[in-house]
């Protein structure tokens, strides 16, 4: 399940939904991404996310399908927010449900790594010095490549 939205989400509620899929669910893994108040040593007072809506939906659905092809998953939840966010606010939620923990944990890690390099979102940081677009991180590309092997 993929959702792209401006409003916040409730991780507890999302985890409860994954746990209610059925009695065959034996483990749920999740990742919640938050806005930090510092970036590269500079204070951040707000983060604004631009996105390409139709393509984001398509890419997240593709990423979900790829995870389901690689692991025996019983449930997948991907939520990504856009718009203006403050430090401490939630940006992204990845939740995976499976019969066993390894599939849930590994697929959750895979999903966030792929999402970072494939989903068309762009972060712009606001701080005392003004606004600036976040540069892509080489480590993110390396982490995504790791999953190709």
């Amino acid at each position: 399940m993929v959702r792209i939205q401006q409003e916040d989400f409730d991780p507890g509620h999302e985890l409860a939904l994954l746990s209610q899929i059925g009695p065959n669910v034996g483990g749920i893994a999740s990742f919640v991404g938050l806005v930090r108040d510092m970036a590269g040593g500079r204070p951040v007072t707000a983060l604004t996310l631009d996105h390409y809506h139709e393509m984001s939906v398509k890419m997240l659905e593709n990423i979900e399908a790829e995870a389901r092809a690689r692991w025996p998953l019983l449930g997948v939840t991907l939520i990504h927010r856009y718009g203006r966010l403050s430090p401490g606010e939630r940006i992204v939620f990845v939740g995976t449900a499976a019969a066993h923990r390894q599939a849930a944990l590994d697929s959750c890690s895979f999903l966030i790594d792929w999402l970072k390099t494939d989903a068309p979102f762009w972060k712009e940081e606001t701080g005392p010095a003004g606004r600036q677009w976040v540069a892509p991180r080489k480590e993110d590309e390396e982490r995504r490549k790791r999953w190709r092997q």
Partner: protein, 83 residues
């Protein structure tokens, strides 16, 4: 043809969407990028360096050799930074 821009590409151009009518000589994404450069100084500032840009045709990433046709939706943007 509908063209979309995002992030600093959109900021430099001044708008996020435009509709263009292509001359017959423009039929690949790379040719489209070069053809757009002359539309305004903002277009040139945003689109001059292909190395720092990504391009998508009809919601799918593609390269600069991708064939394009009327009715396509083409998007230009920087490398993504979500998650």
């Amino acid at each position: 043809m509908k063209i979309l821009y995002f992030s600093w590409v959109k900021q430099r151009i001044g708008h996020g969407v435009e509709t263009v009518t292509l001359p017959p000589s423009v039929n690949r994404t790379g040719q489209l990028r070069e053809w757009l450069l002359d539309r305004s100084p903002g277009h040139r500032a945003a689109l001059a360096d292909a190395e720092v840009l990504r391009v998508a045709r009809n919601l799918t990433y593609c390269d600069w050799e991708e064939p394009i046709a009327d009715g396509d939706e083409i998007a230009f943007f920087p490398p993504v930074t979500g998650g």
